[in-house]
């Protein structure tokens, strides 16, 4: 034991602050959040030192989970919201990745003005997300927005009401999120491309490989570990992406995903139902953990250690 401490004490001393922060600010709240899902906690019965009021919420067993999982519309129609969340997540990440990869491949060539293109293409990343949300909300305005004016100008006389109570609203927020997320993927994949040794390509060229073969057998395998990481992170971030939908369409049920509904329950409405909000949080976390587990197993099968 003595020897063990002698060997490792400085490592532990350096790690300690972060462990404390994570324990106090993440793990403890997480445990408490899970506990809240078995109670009926809300604004009226939470402990409030300002009002000098003790907590009066009581345990309700599994009732919150049963209510939410029943898919009842007064509890946010869990299943259809989950499906919408999955559509949102996978279409966003799919376009992030494909567009990001395409642009990274273009930027990885010797092209005049490469630095300028790179700077311009990164711009959406540099603008704070809430500013982008307002910007696109303005551009998607059905009557005066530049997007519909453009559509009318090229002959669509009856362009969609983008942010109304229909599925176009979901399309609109996906477009915005794709615009926002492409630069990150592009930069990450560009880093990946630059790490692939150039002699591999030269050797392949000498052997007479076509461009497609080079892409298929050198580029894609070379990018695999970068890709698996950024796609996983992208899925997690998009699944939990809140600001865009909240700021652009607000409580519109056609763009409701799990996180935005949880926030609705937490923040708006007279009742401020913290228990249901927490229940949603725990369910979201469970979905993501299951997904990450499956993903990891799939990677491992391909010989990728992660």
């Amino acid at each position: 034991m003595r020897k063990f401490l002698d060997r490792h004490w400085y490592a532990y001393a350096m790690v300690l602050p972060v462990v404390v922060v994570i324990a106090v600010l993440v793990l403890y709240p997480l445990a408490q959040g899970v506990f809240f899902t078995f109670t009926d906690i809300n604004e009226a019965n939470i402990a409030n030192p300002v009002l000098d009021r003790a907590a009066t919420y009581v345990g309700v067993g599994l009732r919150n989970y049963l209510n939410v999982l029943s898919g009842d519309s007064s509890y946010g129609s869990f299943w259809s919201t989950l499906v919408r969340t999955l559509i949102w997540t996978f279409s966003c990440v799919f376009f992030h990745y494909t567009i990001g990869l395409g642009l990274a491949l273009l930027l990885n060539r010797e092209v005049r003005g490469r630095a300028v293109y790179r700077v311009l293409l990164i711009l959406p990343w540099a603008v704070p997300a809430f500013i982008s949300a307002f910007t696109w909300k303005y551009m998607f305005n059905a009557q005066y927005g530049i997007i519909n004016q453009g559509l009318r100008a090229i002959g669509f006389d009856d362009p969609p009401v983008w942010l109304g109570q229909n599925d176009w609203a979901l399309v609109a927020v996906i477009v915005v999120n794709v615009w926002l997320g492409v630069p990150f993927m592009m930069v990450a994949l560009l880093g990946g491309l630059q790490a692939i040794p150039a002699d591999l390509y030269e050797a392949a060229e000498v052997d007479g490989a076509t461009p497609w073969q080079r892409f298929r057998h050198i580029t894609l395998p070379g990018l695999q570990s970068v890709s698996s990481t950024v796609v996983l992170l992208g899925i997690i971030w998009t699944f939990n992406m809140f600001a865009i939908i909240y700021l652009i369409t607000g409580p519109n049920p056609n763009t409701r995903i799990l996180v935005t509904y949880a926030f609705e329950r937490f923040f708006s409405g007279a009742s401020r139902d913290y228990a249901i909000a927490s229940t949603y949080g725990v369910l979201i976390l469970s979905v993501l953990l299951v997904f990450a587990g499956v993903y990891r197993r799939a990677l491992r099968k391909q010989g990728e250690v992660w």
């Binding site: 994570i22 809240f36 060539r109 930069v187 880093g191 491309l193 799990l258 913290y274 949080g281």
Partner: protein, 298 residues
């Protein structure tokens, strides 16, 4: 170490791109065309806000778009003079909260990033894995307990409470990035320092930290942006008084149900975006994320 693949690290950028000896004219046009269209899509929204920011609110919603329409700097004057809500206090709050978050997060994560990069110790793998898992936590599961904790501590509605909350997201992420950067600094430097009689802390403090300055700068920038643009916690945890809002919350007053003051909103947006963009371009050349180099090392 396998988890290296997940580190978003910063490395020295721009190895020479692949050499292409010659390219046909058609391919050249296609390449530039694709890049130009993509750049246009990337830049246009920002450009359009800039154009709108000079128009009066009533002219911002005309049925035929024009570049100039009674344009003037009135919107900027209104916003800065505080006619439209206390913009300058929101700005101050955002800067203060983001700076505090940055300092605390970078300070805490530097030591851990170093330890994770250099030392083998029992529990290292679970620790790194937990940072990844923390990324998965939706704020929805933490928001109620954090609200509860802040209420108990008397920090609900206080700026410092919000800073603590932001650290939950910033610290694990910063640790990862800094670990990635420390990995790119050769271990020989540490060993030389140890031979010369420095303690492990001395090596970290006197040798590695100064060398890691670019990495620290980019990490700090990430932490800053996290706090600068956050909406959910800021909406929920700051008091409703106008002067205590951050920009992300305050700017929502321009987009009320019935009257949206697009001209003013655009002007305020530009004022918020300019500092972020400026700093972004100062650090962007370090931003080639070394996801790949981490992964290649295996």
């Amino acid at each position: 170490m396998t988890l290296d693949a997940s580190s978003l690290q910063v490395v020295q950028p721009d190895r020479k791109p692949q050499r292409r000896k010659s390219r046909s004219l058609g391919a050249s046009i296609g390449l530039h065309g694709a890049l130009a269209i993509a750049s246009l899509i990337a830049v246009f929204p920002v450009f359009w806000v800039l154009v709108t920011s000079f128009k009066p609110d009533a002219r911002a919603v005309e049925t035929t778009p024009k570049l100039f329409n009674e344009s003037s700097v009135d919107n900027y004057v209104d916003v800065l003079s505080g006619d439209k809500g206390s913009f300058l206090s929101w700005f101050g709050n955002s800067v203060l909260i983001a700076l505090m978050t940055t300092v605390i997060a970078v300070f805490l994560s530097a030591t851990t990033g170093y330890a994770a990069s250099r030392f083998r110790f029992p529990g290292k793998r679970p620790l790194l894995l937990s940072f990844l898992v923390v990324q998965m936590f939706p704020f929805a599961v933490l928001i109620v307990p954090l609200y509860n904790i802040l209420l108990t501590l008397g920090l609900q509605g206080q700026q410092f409470g919000l800073v603590l909350v932001y650290c939950t997201t910033a610290v694990p992420f910063c640790t990862y990035m800094l670990k990635g950067y420390f990995d790119t600094i050769p271990n020989d430097i540490d060993e030389a320092g140890r031979v010369d009689g420095l303690s492990p802390f001395g090596v970290f403090w006197r040798l590695v930290l100064p060398l890691a300055r670019p990495g620290l700068a980019v990490t700090a920038f990430y932490a800053f942006l996290t706090a600068w643009g956050e909406v959910a916690f800021a909406s929920a945890f700051l008091s409703a008084a106008d002067e205590s809002k951050t920009l992300a919350v305050g700017l929502q007053v321009f987009v009320q149900q019935n009257r949206t003051e697009w001209g003013h909103l655009a002007a305020a947006s530009i004022l918020v975006a300019i500092p972020a963009i400026a700093v972004f371009y100062l650090v962007q050349r370090f931003l080639v994320t070394g996801l790949a180099s981490g992964a290649v090392k295996g």
